[in-house]
């Protein structure tokens, strides 16, 4: 990319931020969260996955602004005596990692299939489109619940705990590739008819080169928008599965697991174990969704032309 193009890119980004203060705020919030969870090992008061670093005698202590709290624990402790702040930092990390990796799988399957369907057309297109339609008509959350439930019933909760992260990533990743495929297909059909594609083909570029080097860079905008909403969906799916006890185990809690384990204690008065991770989860989800909406507005070519 030339320096001039970089300059334009930067300027549009600033203009975008000015035009969408909500989107900019969401992006900033997500950036701050990303930095915080990336630095979790450095800034977290304790390692919540290390069972020796906390004591069950500290269990259920309230946040520091309430009576009976312990100054060592800013947000209180959970049912196992973990520092809740540390658990939330590490838990958000797991939620984000699972969400991002799952969407990476969705994109890795969906984008090539969509490109192929849109570019080749004919029978390939029919097969991809039909498969996508069928998969979407089966609810993806329901499919994920069933897959993990069968895994748990067949191999036991022990193995589910051990392989929770890869399992969640694969199950959520396989579930929603059709969204990427649909978007990539529609955009490819539009781009494929344009002159530059025909020129590339006339110059003897292979079909693969046309798709990967010419069409793909030009359909990235809609794909980025899809990716954003999909990340929100994947994080929510992970939380739901963990809340049902089909995801991350209590020894390695994600936000969903924290919410579930705190829920059992809510009627004993320990509401913070559930409510604080819940608010963090909602904050993440709202930020991602608002950012997605802002990107959709900002990257819409019809609006850019104006």
């Amino acid at each position: 990319m030339s320096a001039a193009a970089m300059q334009t890119g930067r300027r549009t980004l600033l203009a975008l931020a000015a035009e969408h203060p909500g989107g900019a705020l969401a992006a900033f919030t997500l950036g701050a969260i990303a930095v915080a969870v990336a630095l979790a090992p450095l800034i977290a008061p304790q390692d919540p996955f290390d069972l020796t670093s906390f004591d069950v005698l500290d269990a259920g202590l309230p946040p520091s602004w309430l009576d009976g709290s312990d100054p060592r624990f800013l947000l209180g402790t959970d049912a196992q005596g973990r520092d809740l702040l540390s658990a939330i930092l590490y838990g958000t990390r797991i939620s984000l990692i699972v969400g991002l990796l799952a969407v990476a799988i969705q994109a890795a399957i969906g984008i090539p299939l969509g490109l192929l369907a849109g570019y080749a057309g004919g029978r390939v297109d029919t097969i991809v489109t039909r498969t996508a339609d069928i998969q979407l008509s089966l609810s993806t959350l329901m499919m994920a619940i069933i897959a993990l439930a069968l895994f748990r019933a067949g191999l036991g909760g022990e193995s589910l705990s051990r392989f929770a992260v890869p399992l969640l990533v694969v199950v959520i990743g396989l579930a929603e590739w059709p969204y990427f495929a649909r978007t990539a297909r529609a955009a490819t059909q539009v781009e494929g008819a344009k002159d530059y594609v025909r020129a590339a083909r006339a110059l003897g570029a292979s079909s693969f080169a046309v798709m990967a080097r010419h069409i793909l860079p030009n359909i990235l905008s809609p794909l980025i928008v899809v990716a954003t909403t999909q990340v929100a969906g994947a994080i929510m799916a992970e939380a739901a599965l963990s809340f049902l006890g089909l995801g991350m185990p209590v020894t390695k809690p994600s936000l969903g697991t924290l919410i579930r384990s705190g829920y059992d204690l809510m009627f004993a008065g320990a509401w913070w174990i559930t409510v604080i991770p819940g608010l963090v989860l909602i904050g993440v989800l709202i930020s991602v969704n608002v950012l997605g909406d802002a990107l959709r507005d900002g990257l819409d070519p019809r609006r850019m032309a104006r």
Binding site: L141, L150, A153, A232, G278, L285, N289, D293
Partner: protein, 330 residues
Amino acid sequence: MRALAAPLGFIAGRAFQALLVMLAVLVIAFAVRTALGDPLREIMGEAVPEAQREELRHELGLDAPWPVQLARYLGGAARGDLGTSTVYKRPTLEVVLAKFPASFELVLGASLIVLLLAVPAGIYCAVRPRALGARLILGLSVLGISIPVFLTGIFLITIFAVWLGWLPAFGRGETVRVGFWETGLLTLDGLEHLILPAVTLSSIMLPLFIRLVRGAMLDELGHDYVRTARAKGASPLRVWLRHALRNALVPLAAIGGLQVGTLIAYTLLTETVFQWPGMGFLFLEAVTRADIPLITTYLVFVGLLFVVTNTVVDVVTLMLDPRISLEGTR
């Protein structure tokens, strides 16, 4: 006459497709059972010598080749026999069906709330797109989509059950038996118990349906017939409700009907939060206890719900909308 004959052919075709899908679901359920469950353990438990196991295995025909076993399973399914629950020691179908009323009444309550709120809100957002109220509704629906259904439930319980103490938080409350159907709709206690779970479940469907109604209405309002109706002097309200809404309902029924899988998943989450004794709650309990026959029966039942809903939606869509060409469907 022809007009009637064509839908009948269409319905027969769709029913045949539905049967094929159910057959596939049963084969998958059979595969899961064979792979994960040991019927002998279900019957005799762990502490039985191998020789005796072998004998019973032969007696029950479990050493038969799998096609024979599959045929037996399908034959059983046709008679309504999907196996025996290892936990409840009763036919699994009986166990699942006993929980059906609880789930159904929860979904019914949520659907009523969605219908009563989403249709007016969606119409309002379509006819007054720039009004403050419309923007507020759409903004709130982004918020609603961002809040996972189990958190909505937890927050509602915190506020209305823990802090205010107005409503019960767990279970169905007092129920009454009407024939085989155990209903919570006929007692005050049962209705009180239904409020929070139904509101929770509706909260996740509401944003979706408001957007759907709004989108469908916006599409219809752009058509010429709306202008014609207005020009001949029909009041705006009449045009919106009698003309546009009626046409907007067709795609709405189709899309809404296709959400059944999502609805089942959300119902499962809601039932978990409120310990609502429905099918989803039963399913998760079966998963924890590794009750394989019960798990597969639930899967078959969910498959059946899914297939029936989709078939009915297809047929109803066709009947509601004369514009859909029957020639194209054959």
